[in-house]
Symmetry: C2
Subunit: 187 residues, 2 copies
DNA sequence: TCCGTTACCGAACATTCTGTATGGTAATAA
DNA sequence: TTATTACCATACAGAATGTTCGGTAACGGA
């Protein structure tokens, strides 16, 4: 990829992120973005069809990475079956959130948090599905599997959301403990 | 209130609702709304400052009513303490959703569902807070109260969302049963 | 180092939507 | 009946969108 392309794309991403941290998404204009990024109008449209596609690409970069990493972790049932004290995948996610580039936590706690929490939830669902697939654990509760997968994903994202809204006072370990206590009866 | 005012306001609400059921909120223009409602441009702005305020007013009408009704119900702990078989407030909500005017379920399951689920959640939180206030039930779990209030509210809304996304195959009673099973360990 | 390619810029453009203003008309409430 | 007022049609300025185009310079391969 041409260095100029990378630079422009990166400049737009960074500018967009900066704007998202202080302004509401829907009142950010393409004009705002190219002013902040200091690129030409035509350049923006050469990279992204619309503002919405820019958001989509940003989110895929943000959550795609964090979820893919967690995908490689051992599945939940290893934790129980072999007696090893592996950290739960959820604790891993919480720790990862703090170390991510482009300040993912800032976006998740900005005034645009709903947008990003939504993307987070969607991606997390895939992870939860593979984590708990074929463990048989979920079936014991006699509730539909995708109902539970959805419930667990949503609950985690909302736990993170609550955490951020209250100033991230708890440690990742404490928060993971909260979360485990909530879904423990189900898995 | 002047009859003409009521008619215009109602026409705008109805047109807006109709549009929301098929188009994405953000690409609905004021022009679309006044065309559908068949009112003048100036009339729209005499009633609503912006499209966003229209949405806000619509949501307050939709959820304000449904929540206020439920507010008058006996609190959850009556159910347990006096042994009466009163329906849970959640079952009541589910039944109410189907009978509401202006087709609230259509909006909750439209492509704009996220917007309305969000409003639903916000309003529900108030209800849950008063329902479980001072019952002491929540404190037994040793989790922060507003963490639990948030969790219960979100879980209910997501349960409804899941229900709609799967064609509302379950009866309100079955769904309430699902939901109770999920939060039962906490309350 | 040279050269063809290509990303970028600045500027201009038509188009669409917004929110406001105005003067005339007709429905309303008292 | 009469004063009020909500409404309409129209026009308008301002802003944002998405596209086009010719010129410039950075790039990567040879």
């Amino acid at each position: 990829m041409d260095r100029r392309q990378r630079k422009s794309r990166e400049a737009i991403f960074t500018a967009f992120t900066r704007l998202l941290e202080k302004q509401a998404y829907h009142q950010i204009t393409v004009q705002d973005i190219i002013d902040e990024a200091d690129v030409g109008r035509a350049t923006f449209y050469a990279h992204f069809e619309t503002k919405e596609y820019l958001l989509k690409d940003l989110c895929e970069e943000l959550f795609g990475h964090i979820i893919d990493t967690a995908m490689g972790l051992p599945h939940e049932h290893y934790h129980y079956s072999c007696g090893m004290t592996t950290d739960s995948v959820f604790l891993h996610l919480l720790r990862h959130l703090r170390e991510n580039d482009r300040n993912i936590l800032a976006l998740l706690s900005s005034r645009n948090n709903e947008i990003f929490l939504q993307y987070f939830k969607t991606n997390l669902k895939k992870l939860v599905k593979t984590q708990f697939a074929d463990t048989g654990k979920l079936k014991e509760s006699k509730l539909p599997e995708d109902f539970l997968v959805n419930h667990i994903s949503v609950s985690f994202v909302e736990t993170v959301s609550w955490w951020l809204a209250h100033g991230t006072k708890e440690t990742p370990e404490e928060l993971a403990e909260y979360f485990e206590r909530i879904i423990a009866p189900l898995v």
